[in-house]
Symmetry: C2
Subunit: 371 residues, 2 copies
DNA sequence: CTGTTAGCGCATTCAG
DNA sequence: CTGAATGCGCTAACAG
């Protein structure tokens, strides 16, 4: 007699026995209550309560061959950008019965490929993936994944299935145009290591400057070309990448080099923060001597002194709407628009207000969360 | 003949047939290659490759009644603190065959309770949970979860199973003592909505001031008592909580109120950043008129002007070591120390250097990651 | 080292 | 609306 050591947890059969019905009726009562008569339903829920029955999701997934897991691939967990996206995802999944599995691709397409492969092992009910530039192999896997695939936080004409995001190219271009309109002529571009989305923003920057006839490659200031993900396997302090320190350094160098810049478009807000501090330490007047703009529009940009211009993007919405799209498709609703452009917003604030024409906006006073 | 519609994917039986062995041998060859003779192993891996066989993890979980899923509960995804923790977790899970499932408890113990319940449905192989103050019900569930449970990012004498973290009380006290030693007398405490860990830091602050005989409840400045998680279900902009704006406001009010503060200990770094900007806008000299200290030590603290003091905590390590602990236990190694205190570090910088005695430290110049 | 047998717990058939 | 039988794909247990 080699009975298998089971979990000890009551099974659906126990509930069925206690309620005096068949197992399948319990199964149905749990998943589609309206398909079961009220009388049985009641005795079943009673039995469930008495036995403390909880369904075994692994068994359910095996039998039904779908897992109710939504896989989410993000390039980084440390960047606020994607934590906001994930917040949207989690807000969007509320009482849907879906579970979320996050994979961290570390801005590395090979890792992404492997992650996609492993995710497919679990037969996810849907996949949400950041960006639109997957490898050919990744794309093929996603195409034949047999489930909804939502690409987010970028834009493309040719989504795998559906894309919800915005154009980094146009965002970069729009901010650069704002700087030009504000009266700056020598607009530098600050960045660290760049991914495909950063490169698109740079592309927008270049096009704007070219159209204005003031493009100068000398003004593109990159730093730290080593891809950070390469070194993340080992035990290192969280402090290994100092974006703010880099913004500061870039600005100091730019000032020292005497390239005559009068504004910088920073590839992200932390960089901009560092650049601002550099100007403060050198008594450089922002915005009159140098204008500073960031990208992402985190909350401290508005609170800075001077308040800093940035491009607000809809991170939370990307996550939330992706989740809504997943849910409606899983409910059998049609896919609808395959390309959803959420746009962006150029936030014009003091740090790029060369002429001092902007009226001061009051700060919002809203509660927030602590560690 | 009611054959079930399967997935079409090859099964372990297909591989076994093709390799001319029994299914269980394939199973073993895949999981414990050293338990299978080299000859069979080779023909099996060949068959696997030819058929593109991938194991069905749901079936595996059902049959073996353990899922290889490590559940991680964090109170927030937006806070950098926990994204660093998660980065540690992901760095720690590399080629372990384990999967990670993240639950977002939104700083809400009831939600946490529900999440724990749901997590248990999947029979996780281990659970990592933030904080040490679970509800009685949560604690009971975790105790009888039948798997390793690691509590992180806080400290307790009485861990459920194992705790890896540090004492917020002592961290708060240490920073406050630093402020006193630096010569400040009227040290305010700035915070927004407070969780249990923030409260412990406040406790440390109070004790330090009491020991010095300079405690004044008037100096505790809280703001925004509404718990943010309450309102997160609906479609809102990511911008709803402006921590930096709050730090700014708190400082402006403190200055206006004339309580004669000469230093502030901010419950987190973003708050400190806002406070610094407020001082700048009022021409208040930091650190000579007002000292400012934060908590967490994000990278911009070092890059600020003046560089800002903060308490460096080991977020990444908490995640990473928790994962290592899980792995070694899952490998059958003994639990070892049940209480691991990672400590913290008071980073003394310009913003609390009242006497101007600190030597300027060079900024680190390291690459970093962009969005 | 390998195979046989017997489930893991649930949901999909199909028949009432 | 309900139920009985059967299988999802894999692995624990035992025997060789």
């Amino acid at each position: 007699m080699r009975k298998r050591r089971s979990n000890g947890r009551p099974t659906i059969a126990d509930v069925a026995f206690r309620a005096g019905v068949g197992a399948i009726t319990v199964s149905r009562a749990l998943r589609h209550p309206d398909q079961v008569s009220e009388a049985l339903r009641k005795s079943i829920t009673d039995a469930v309560r008495e036995l403390d029955y909880v369904p075994n999701l692994n068994a359910r997934a095996l039998a039904s061959s779908h897992s109710n897991v939504v896989a989410v691939l993000v390039p980084s967990l440390t960047q606020n950008i994607f934590s906001d996206v994930l917040r949207g995802v989690y807000d969007g999944v509320e009482n849907s019965g879906l579970r979320i599995e996050i994979a961290n691709t570390r801005y590395n397409v090979e890792i992404e490929e492997r992650q996609i492969f492993e995710i497919l092992l679990h037969e996810p009910s849907a996949i949400i993936v950041s960006g639109t530039e997957q490898t050919a192999a990744s794309r093929k896997m996603l195409e034949k994944a047999g489930c909804p695939v939502i690409q987010i936080m970028d834009m493309t004409d040719d989504p795998i299935h559906k894309v919800i995001g915005f154009s980094h190219f146009h965002a970069g271009k729009a901010m650069t145009q704002h700087l030009l309109e504000a009266g700056y002529q020598r607009v530098a571009f600050f960045s660290g290591w760049m991914n495909s989305r950063s490169k698109n923003r740079l592309g927008g920057y270049i096009e704007a400057l070219e159209e204005a006839g003031v493009y100068d490659p000398e003004l593109i200031c990159e730093m730290g070309n080593e891809k950070p993900s390469a070194s993340q396997g080992s035990i290192k302090d969280y402090h290994q990448f100092s974006a703010a320190g880099m913004g500061r350094e870039l600005m100091l160098r730019a000032l020292d080099r005497g390239t005559g810049i009068d504004a910088v478009f920073c590839n992200n807000d932390v960089l901009a923060l560092g650049a601002l501090f550099a100007c403060m330490s050198r008594q450089v007047d922002v915005p009159r001597q140098v204008g500073i703009a960031g990208f992402n529009d985190f909350d401290y940009m508005e609170a800075a002194q001077p308040a800093m211009s940035s491009v607000r993007i809809h991170r939370w919405q990307c996550g939330y709407q992706a989740m809504q799209a997943v849910r409606s498709e899983l409910n059998g609703e049609p896919v609808g628009e395959r390309i959803i452009d959420l746009g962006f917003e150029v936030m014009k604030r003091g740090s790029t207000d060369r002429e001092g024409t902007l009226e001061a906006a009051p700060l919002s006073e809203i509660p927030f969360t602590l560690s």
